[in-house]
């Protein structure tokens, strides 16, 4: 039942994610999962089409590096294409 008291509670309520410590925990969790996934490469036979797919941790490295490049390039691009919000008005 949504009501005025309910709303007030909600604004006061502290969420689990509001604490910095919990966010850090999430990040460590992510790092741990990443680590496990890379290590997993040692324990199965990769079925691949291309030779480079078979390299140890190829997908992990590719995903990380390309995403960093993507963001950094996009940041540079912003210098060229960014205009004020009302540019076309």
């Amino acid at each position: 039942m949504p009501g005025p008291t309910d709303d007030k509670d909600r604004t006061k309520k502290t969420y689990w994610l509001d604490q910095r410590r919990n966010v850090d925990r999430l990040v460590y969790g992510l790092v741990a999962i990443c680590g496990l996934l890379v290590v997993a490469d040692l324990f199965y036979h990769k079925h691949t089409h291309f030779a480079f797919e078979g390299w140890f941790g190829f997908f992990a490295g590719f995903g990380f590096v390309m995403c960093v490049i993507l963001v950094l390039l996009a940041k540079e691009m912003r210098k060229i294409v960014k205009r004020d919000e009302d540019y076309y008005d």
């Binding site: 992510l30 996934l37 199965y44 079925h47 995403c67 993507l70 963001v71 996009a74 540019y87």
Partner: protein, 563 residues
């Protein structure tokens, strides 16, 4: 008669009659019509129906085969889900426009000849523009006009191509077209515009985010996937499409990273997803075309789901600018959850729909040994997770708390999102149900150890990259801004050029008339120097210049005829 009833007509005619019905009937009608049309579709065996003759040409207005069926089916589902999502909207214009638009898209997919295709093609353009206009703002109006011109222009090209093709081959049938004739080229460009090929793409990012809350969801489902279908029908195995598709997957994600309007981010990622399908068409093998059809199917669902969640945010929070949002998970927990399902699907997490459809395309590309294209697609896969999978939920629902406290989305929206999310997961968990209706027989198992682990590696490390960049402050902040794209050419360059052309044309006519009358007057002045009064001829009345034209033309004709 009932046997060959075109489902498209049920939606179009039904939609056109809706305004006559009272409010309650009308609302139920928006839900009932897609269901009725779907029943009509399912009751039809594959074949050709509705053959009519129009000024000497045989038209096949309804062709149902394995390729058109997949697209027609998902369009019906989308029509129903979007109608449910828009249940709370009382605007008759939007209700009618959405139904007619969906119906037109279905009609186009089922069209067996180029003229029928053209008619429905244009109808999708004309009906859908009302979903943008209904927003009622000046910005929306202008975006709608740009959208309309480009869409109608695409239809004109299609018609021109069809005319040329008829002239060359005598056939209007819409089958394999190919690029080896001028008509085929024009039709290719027509499809390319609607499919948002690079440099022809900008109408999409321009118009979709300006539509109404529900309108954007409807728009996202039909137009571009209709174009994908048309390309798959007319140009399978066209090598150029591999390059075009690869570029399409890659370049929009750069824009998506720096775009602030989250619905526009989704529009860019829509463009990127289309790229995968276009690559599939370009590869053109059975596996690849299956991949395109499957990916279009799951894409319509998860893209609609993402647009639905952002629509709910726009409705409740009043904005979808990443810079102004954050912390909304506290107010809209269900919407957040549904958004994450959509994000997981578009990112192709195992057990979600994108995983089982996109991998068909990637495998087909690898099977044809296009290693570079394959790497580009892999990069785009990582990138799409980066901006759609993480950025959308993160900036809308998490990030720093913007302090916005609003209501959860209306129940009908939650229901629509819930159903769509359910379908996304169901397809991911039971891929064989989707594989069973694809155009060709499928011999593919998505859930192999290699596939699951490598995909998870790719996605998790992308997430890690995002985390690292945000934590180190390297991630570009969300800013209020406009990013220049190909639309600059027609929003800035073309109007300037046209104004110049107008005044140039005026000056030219003036000058030609003046020169002609001056030179003739000089001749007459000479002739009549000793005779009549000069005032007569020097008078500068407009009739004079007309008479001069007569003289010029007569002299010219005589000269030509005597030669």
């Amino acid at each position: 008669m009932t046997e060959s009833l075109n489902p498209a007509l049920i939606l179009i005619l039904g939609g056109a009659l809706l305004p006559l019905a009272p409010d309650a009937v009308r609302r139920w009608g928006t839900l009932a019509l897609p269901v009725l049309a779907l029943l009509a579709l399912l009751s039809l065996p594959f074949g050709e129906y509705g053959q009519i003759r129009v000024f000497g040409y045989a038209l096949v207005t309804l062709r149902l085969d394995s390729l058109s069926f997949v697209f027609a089916l998902i369009f019906h589902i989308a029509a129903f889900l979007t109608a449910l999502y828009a249940w709370h909207v009382r605007d008759t214009v939007q209700q009618v426009a959405a139904l007619v638009y969906g119906g037109a898209a279905i009609g186009a997919v089922l069209a067996g000849d180029l003229i029928t295709l053209f008619v429905f093609w244009e109808l999708t353009a004309i009906s859908s523009v009302f979903l943008i206009l209904a927003r009622g703002t000046e910005r929306a109006f202008r975006a709608a006009m740009r959208y309309l011109i480009i869409q109608v222009g695409s239809g004109v090209l299609l018609l021109a191509g069809a005319v040329i093709k008829v002239q060359a081959t005598g056939s209007l049938a819409f089958d394999y077209v190919g690029l080896d004739s001028p008509g085929g080229l024009l039709i290719f460009v027509a499809f390319g515009i609607k499919c948002a090929f690079p440099l022809l793409h900008n109408w999409l990012q321009d118009a979709y985010p300006e539509a109404t809350v529900t309108g954007t969801v409807v728009l996202s489902a039909f137009t571009t996937k209709l174009a994908v279908y048309a390309l798959a029908r007319g140009y399978p195995g066209t090598d150029m499409l591999i390059t075009i598709g690869a570029v399409m997957t890659a370049f929009p994600i750069f824009y998506a990273v720096i775009e602030n309007d989250l619905r526009r981010v989704l529009a860019y990622s829509l463009n990127n997803q289309l790229g995968f399908m276009v690559v599939g068409i370009g590869v053109g093998t059975e596996l690849a075309l299956n991949g395109t059809a499957a990916h279009a199917f799951s894409h319509i669902l998860y893209k609609a789901l993402l647009f639905m969640s952002m629509g709910a945010v726009l409705l409740r929070a009043g904005t979808v600018n990443g810079s102004d949002l954050g912390g909304l998970y506290k107010s809209m927990p269900y919407t957040t959850a549904f958004c994450i399902v959509g994000a997981a699907s578009i990112s192709a997490f195992p057990l979600f729909s994108g995983f089982i459809s996109k991998s068909l395309i990637l495998t087909a590309v690898a099977a044809e040994h296009h290693w570079f294209v394959w790497l580009v697609l892999l990069f785009a896969s990582a990138g799409v997770f980066h901006h759609s999978g993480i950025k959308i939920p993160y900036f809308a629902f998490y990030a720093h708390d913007s302090g916005i406290r609003c209501e959860e989305a209306p129940k009908n929206m939650l229901l629509a999102m819930g159903l769509t999310a359910f379908l996304c997961i169901a397809i991911g968990v039971f891929p064989d149900t989707l594989y069973a209706i694809l155009p060709y027989a499928v011999d593919y198992e998505p859930y192999t150890t290699t596939h699951v682990i490598t995909q998870l590696q790719l996605l998790m490390f992308s997430a890690l990259a995002f985390t690292v960049l945000v934590r180190t402050g390297l991630y570009p902040p969300e800013l209020h801004s406009v990013n220049l794209d190909a639309d600059w050419s027609y929003r800035r360059l073309l109007p300037m050029a046209f104004r110049h052309l107008g005044s140039w044309h005026q000056r030219l006519t003036d000058r030609v008339t003046r020169t002609a009358s001056n030179s003739l007057r000089a001749v007459f002045d000479n002739l009549y120097q000793h005779h009549g009064p000069q005032g007569m001829l020097a008078r500068d009345w407009p009739t004079g210049s007309m008479v001069i034209w007569v003289a010029v033309l007569l002299g010219f004709s005589l000269l030509l005829y005597y030669l």
